[in-house]
Symmetry: C2
Subunit: 181 residues, 2 copies
């Protein structure tokens, strides 16, 4: 496991998705502007997130990205691993021949530490962050302030088209069961 800016960008973007998940897809252009990350770079990161089955893209106007699973079922370790391909844990590459055909001790110790770190990050879900008290209100307030009108517009349009009639999208997770690309 390795944690760099790449992983941080991805976690940040995924949190953004999780916060706005109920309002429909979030465009990369939106995230790019809000978080100060270049659009093309975001596209590269999201290509990996998509391949890992963490997000799904919705094309066309009103499209964007949304979580492929409920926020409660996505943990931080997954996100980081999908963009920062795990670095080789040991020098001997599993062969374990660094000490006369046996694994040397420190490798084993490091592997243990590495596992513990992974377990720790696996235990933290996106939902845990989004559901902290005050976050939804703050989020909505700030989106209005900065000009994320797109989401509001999209949501209104969707309601007009009757999109929300047959799903519980606005309230939660049912949409996650729909088929994707």
């Amino acid at each position: 496991m390795r944690i760099s800016t790449k992983g941080r960008y991805s976690v940040t973007a995924m949190l953004d998705l999780a916060i706005h998940d109920k309002a429909g897809p979030v465009t990369l252009a939106d995230i790019s502007q809000c978080q100060g990350i270049s659009l093309s770079y975001l596209e590269q990161l999201f290509a990996r997130l998509r391949k890992s089955g963490l997000v799904k893209g919705v094309r066309g106007p009103g499209g964007g990205y949304r979580l492929a699973r409920p926020a409660a079922e996505i943990n931080i370790a997954e996100i980081i691993c999908s963009v920062d391909e795990t670095m080789d844990v040991t020098r001997c590459k599993g062969e374990g021949n660094c000490q006369n055909g046996e694994k040397c001790l420190t490798h084993e110790l490091w592997a243990t530490l590495s596992n513990r770190l992974h377990e720790f990050l696996s235990g933290i879900t996106l939902a845990q962050f989004v559901e902290r008290p005050g976050i939804p209100e703050l989020s909505m307030q700030r989106d209005k302030m900065i000009g994320r009108f797109l989401l509001a517009k999209k949501q209104a349009a969707a309601i007009n088209r009757g999109v929300f009639k047959n799903t519980t999208d606005i309230a939660g997770n049912d949409l996650h069961n729909l088929k994707s690309n």
Copy 2:
């Protein structure tokens, strides 16, 4: 906080130091050979560890590196931070102006996660790993197997010179109070 191979190398090397601390200084050449890390690269890493006050060097024949403090007082986060200079946590660099003069939400969330990670790694000491059952025995056994005779020789020589008479070096931590470079 960022975790890369650099940090892994350092943690691995520090664990090696901790394991052999009772037998006296460990040479970088030793670690280099055992862990498969180039000597000069190790020297660069140890320059930082030394500046951070985590290790101290002992020059001359029979010299090497040893922990500057007892293994129980050195945690993993310190080691990683001393070689992998902490990356900037947020885009707005503490100015918090990324959303109309306010910190944007995800930055705050990421900062929280980052802190939790740091706390987690701070809570793990070198001693916790070294003192796991069976480690000292395994360590000694393997050192003999692979040809870490240097340590044995050094230790014998030290005993002959009476080095261990006035300290509890062979048993523990008293040597840590001696002055260094």
